[in-house]
Assembly symmetry: D3
Homo-oligomer: 170 residues x 6
């Protein structure tokens, strides 16, 4: 296979500008991108409010102008780190390189013999899902931290309503 | 949401011309198609030889000229029919209509309040994964039953070699 | 604890007169009966058409005049025979005796140190869920094989409609 | 079905007077009550000391004079919020209304199209399993916070002995 | 690591002379042997009557004079072929070579980059667990097909009693 | 069975001198020792860095001079305390006595009818996996807290490298 594919994974709770800029960078280096949506089975939890399907939608719409073909693949947790790389590979088209700065992801793919790239720029992301979820809960502005398509998806599903409801104390 | 999305599911072991013609038909009726790759966790078995990732690749390449945006989503089994419709919906962008002639799929989505379409034409598919796998095992021609892109993927992964090896008696 | 409790398990797909007569017999021997609804997670399958909740309803209504207090407890499969007796006991109030003529149930409870009773009469049940499901599918009369309350529940949920739909060939 | 059924869920570690008063209130509004025993698979843990079967026993005995028919159904966790409402419904007889003030339960049933009631009174429960377990561990009086039948069950199973043993540091 | 380890897997229901002769052969080629006890979670079933622990005992006692250090490791099924080789490796000390004539095992380890040996002699085993179980059920002699230590273990656990009981029709 | 077997369980992350001295003590009291490697499915996590196979290797090499036959058995978690004792017993050869000072282990085996011994000396272990992992991460000396064979195994697998990598913040 002569096509070069890159793999990128996140939980995307929600997908934000940091993810977008990393993917735009990867788009310049590979022929196709595979985006794994991690912890796909989780939703309706303060730290993981959105379903895999909602996250697939945010990502796909935000990348409509990427100019590089991509796959968006929900990846359920398997709760066994030693099997995780094999699990990811079974769910995705074959890929050559994993792009990640997450130390565990780097370790597991390296042990599995996959080439891993974690250039300095990925380290610099000050954007985080945690911060965006905090702002959504507290009513502070968050819309400028995510692509416009994500704002639209989150409004369609009344994301702040869901988050505020499930974060309330019993 | 004003966009109309249709859902179609199969195991795609392998993806074949019957699936392709159904999807071309659905493409004329909806704005976006979601293709669920069922039993995603299975592979390397005589009845389920290909990984979810390999099936995603077959489908995506075959639909490159479809002219209708689509999502290809691996769906792992949950072994509980009463939860299956909710499981599928959690993994997929929201959809309005399920296109299926599988009686269980029809039943489960209908009970879940999803509109299901199963027009006569889907019934008529004489093509089947079972027949294609039989031909691959016995060395009979099968290439004319699948889209050209599937032939290419199956050759790249030495599909007949794998199938013949795992189907041998111990 | 001076109270004597008896345990009885089945899949109850559906609950029928054979089950009813066994339970009426047990009612004469114990202070309270625990009825385990096995394979609770299964439904919408030709051999296991009804949900645990539907089966709980059939049983509870049929026993309204039993004159012996009873518990109806869904028991999900755990796929490990060596753990099954411990699993059942964790889900049920403490019991002294298991009433069963199923050889595996007898074996597993005996190994777990539970007293098991399987008097000849339980052997003689000619009634079976298999036969009742066959009749429901083929349109033959089945109503006389189950308690009247079960007829009512199965009509409320359109049981024959569901069974005929999910048993159809794809 | 003309019968109105209400659903109420808790972990009941242990069942206490707050649960009892809520159920007595619900008894005045419905024909039958379904009581779901959540996290049914957990036991022998400081936060979840009692088995599902022990909790079924506490509840059933405490409600012997309720004057409203009820079902007590163990519900195992499925670790997927998006499927939880379907899971509960598959294990229970059909119900119309869920009574809950737990924000996540409210959200998940509302999304599943179930009517949810959470009147002010449920909010006011100052009783909590956490407080009762703390008292049982520290040797403070707790018996007045639970129905008399629960005191009896907890004594029969030597609940404080178990809790003190499993809460000790290694 | 300079030590050469060989891996051999079976279900060992029960362990028999065919397994023994293969292991004696492998003992001449490696420094240490790892014996994986497959489908470790299964027992008390006609095709899988013995627990993992019972199988560990049969194997360990039979190999007491092997003259080559060995490990006996229960391996639970994970129901995902694409992850199986990684699963086995996570449960075992590192090994260089898998000895197997099972086509699926050969395939999965080969894809995982493990050296696999399946010399002609392994093919020739006429002994089989199926045949031994058949004889145990029917009361025909089976003792000469297994090592003496296995005869002893099977007597200690009343293996024929268990098998005959669980194989009886309901 | 006249042979007396003792069971001992730990997570062994890593195996250390405290475990070794307990096992040397048990060796004087029984004919054979079974060592259960708990949470066998976990690895590559700051609290559980090593695979079951790596832990089996550490233990086996450290006990080469024990002078008492022993079994080393990976035990995967089942997340249900009420079933845990039955789970352990299904994976191990039959045993008479469990040696443990872990309160939950003591409780679960006692409830399952197994004799449990927890002599004062096991209480006194000041050695702990937590402390050793802390030292490995911070670069402080830890080698004197584990048997020499463990030092060797941990070097072969570059344990400190792995631990430092997976413990880094994202």
């Amino acid at each position: 296979m002569n096509m070069k594919r890159g793999f990128y994974i996140g939980r995307f709770q929600p997908y934000h500008n940091g993810h977008q800029s990393v993917l735009e960078h990867i788009a310049g280096e590979v022929d196709e991108i595979i985006i794994g949506v991690g912890s796909a089975q989780l939703s309706h939890h303060p730290d993981n409010p959105f379903t895999a399907g909602e996250r697939v939608l945010m990502i796909t719409r935000s990348l409509s102008l990427l100019g590089c073909p991509f796959y968006v693949i929900p990846i359920e947790d398997i709760q066994r780190n030693a099997l995780w790389a094999a699990h990811v590979r079974s769910m995705c088209p074959p890929f050559d390189t994993c792009y990640s700065s997450n130390p565990l992801v780097v370790r597991l793919f390296t042990e599995a013999g996959v080439d891993v790239q974690s250039p300095a720029m990925y380290e610099r992301e000050i954007l985080s899902g945690t911060e965006i979820r905090r702002r959504m809960l507290s009513g502070e502005p968050w819309e400028n931290l995510v692509p416009p398509a994500v704002v639209q998806v989150l409004k369609e599903i009344d994301a702040t309503g869901r988050m505020q409801q499930i974060s309330r104390n019993d």
